[in-house]
Amino acid sequence: MSKIKLKLAATGLNNTDNPGPGVPVIRSIRESGTFSMEVVGLAYETLEPGIYMPGITDRTYMIPYPSDGVEALLERLEYIQSKEKIDVLIPNFDAELYTFMKSSDRLEKMGVRTFLPTLSQLEERHKSNLPRFGKKYDVLVPKSKDILSYQDIEKLREEFEYPLMVKGKFYDAYLAYNEEQVRMHYNKISAKWGLPVIIQEFIRGTEVNVVALGDGTGQTVGAVPMRKQYITDKGKAWGGITLDDPAMMELTRHIISKTHWRGGMELELIKTTRNELYVIEINPRIPAWVYLAVGAGQNLPEALVKLALGMEVKPFRRYDVGKMFVRYSYDMIVDLPRFEQLSTLGEVEPEKSFKSI
């Protein structure tokens, strides 16, 4: 059977020590049996590694930050679409999702398809709304509270025990042992991601994660649970292993079926010593470690593209337990003119192959 031609656009090419999912998502779909692909990279910053990596993107364009608004983004995408004929776009950053969702109708008119959660799904699972989410869908969640000022920090003592978690609206999570540390994290986080800053009860236990895909009708297309074996100081997995854990799978299917989740999802869970599963965060997109799921037999990014194209997708039945991933870093040699081209013209093609001396 010949492969279907596809032009894919993806963001999140920042394969750094705090990696975006763009590169693994692209890599997964490149290995698809269904599609033969050309890839348009969309980058916010000039040093995102995926821009320069051979075999990932075919061409990358700079796009405006979400904080510039929907209009600026669409204007840029219209220009890009006039040169490329993108079929499917996968946004990979939490902070940009809202902007892409607001744009999805107009993207569709331009011929660009997406497969995203709905605005109310996005809103409902928001860190600040987690307590309500827990109540509504009957899942365990940590106590949490939005704070908007220094005065709120002083009052935390009345409701929380230290240590507690200090989290940004989109990213960043720090453990704080006292008020002083909360203030420090508050300043850092609010400068970067705005207000509110979210305070969460610290739940002791093992952190486990699930990558999953919902088809929007309540059906779970696929899900793979994982435990991080090695965690960087940014809290990111540097190694992980797939688990055989029916309770985690059950919880994932429960959440997807109750919310009718549409699109990729990562569940961040804490398993306590009493085997309770707390939902710490629900990320409304595919995580950077998704390639482990592909390795274990579930090509979820490929399935997501099929859903976006309206193709039929059969749910995955199994995955390999005990598959591991180990992440590594690798230095590329990049010639200055490529950086110059990207910096001055806003678009560039990657190296043809990895260079060595």
Binding site: Y44, E45, T46, L47, M62, I63, P64, Y65, P66, S67, D68, G69, V70, E71, A72, E75, R76, Y79, A95, Y98, T99, K102, R132, D146, L148, K169, F170, S190, W193, G194, L195, L342, S343, T344, L345, G346, E347
Partner: protein
Amino acid sequence: MEKIAFERPFIKKLSAGMPSKFGMKTEIKPVTHIDDVAVEELIQKYGSPLFVISEKTMRETYQEAYRAFSTRYPKVQFAWSYKTNYLDAVCRVFHQEGSWAEVVSGFEFDKALANGIPGNKILFNGPDKPEEYLKKAIEQKAYIHIDHFDELYTLKQLAATLKTRPRVAIRVNMDVGIYPKWDRFGFNYENGEAWDALNRIMISESFELEGLHAHIGTYMMTTEAYGIAAAKLADLATGLERKYGHVIKYIDMGGGFASKNTLKGAYLPGTDTAPSFDEYAEAITSALINSGIKPENLPMLILETGRALIDDAGYLLGTVIANKRLSSGYRSTIVDVGVNLLFTSFWYEHQISPARPTTQHTEETAVFGPLCMNIDVIRESMVFPLLKTGDRFVISRIGAYNMTQWMQFITLRPNVVMIDPESKVHLIREKESLETIRQQERIPGHLQAKKQ
């Protein structure tokens, strides 16, 4: 030989972590005209700075809001919130469109009367209603929204002396899941205070209980909070129906809809995140329709929307005074618009556009006002095109709260013009002069003697 248009020469350090505006074709769009009138022409004729109000935008925004509610609910009434902008011309546009008046002081009450609004179309809110004005409100048959028990008893006494039954509603505050909670105005729902107040009103028989009022806060980004508030007011109304067979005439949901301005500290721009009138309307009207109120008793829905109706229609035009490097090398632009005129710059990241097309080259800039005060900052940091001394700019979405909260501080307040739907320009508030200010002052005798 034709000379090339000049732009300031400019160099910018490239850093991986910064938005790379270079090479991207996104230009900062100029605002050269407001309703077909050239910005430059307006400033030439009326001076700089200059407030401009678009009557066309006002009417379109009002009609859009009215459509959103009236297509979902049988009886809808807007009441213009005077404090948001009480220039008479502005109020009269909304009154022409069908708005009643919502006032919170004796001064605003008199202003509404002077604008030809009869007392029975005035909603009288606020914690401070002097006895003299309560009396006036009772006589004029205005709707008095009771804020606290002391006011309730003052009113009861007045009712007895005047031998009339004042038309009243109570203001209710409640938990709608948002923070900070506005619980200093009115009677609390959750602790039963509101229900208690309603009972005392019903039993005393000195009042006409006409409605229920809530104003849950301002610049509310979630429509859900309105749904909760409407449901709680409806619950009180159902209680009155059940216990006294009393049917109230209206439920007043107050104001608070967000305008499209971006709040300081927000990551995404307000143009993307502010809910539409349709979304607010859906939340409020479905809560009322689905409530326990009998369909034949559905009360009139009143809205005191301020900000969201007028913000977009207001512009502040100004001129660049100077460009200056701070000691760090960071650029600052000094303009003739200060926080004395643009009070809302304490909350908003106002959008400032050049009044002429520029190239796509921009630089991070702080925008300072002309006051000799460190707090006079219009924008701490924005990506701004390279403007020169004398260049004009336009600050958009400033129609709400500035033309009421402005200060006569260091300088005088400038002209305000309104552009009518035929693009004719009308002066609606003349700029102040030394005389305007001095005529209020009195010089004691011993200071009047002329020095030799």
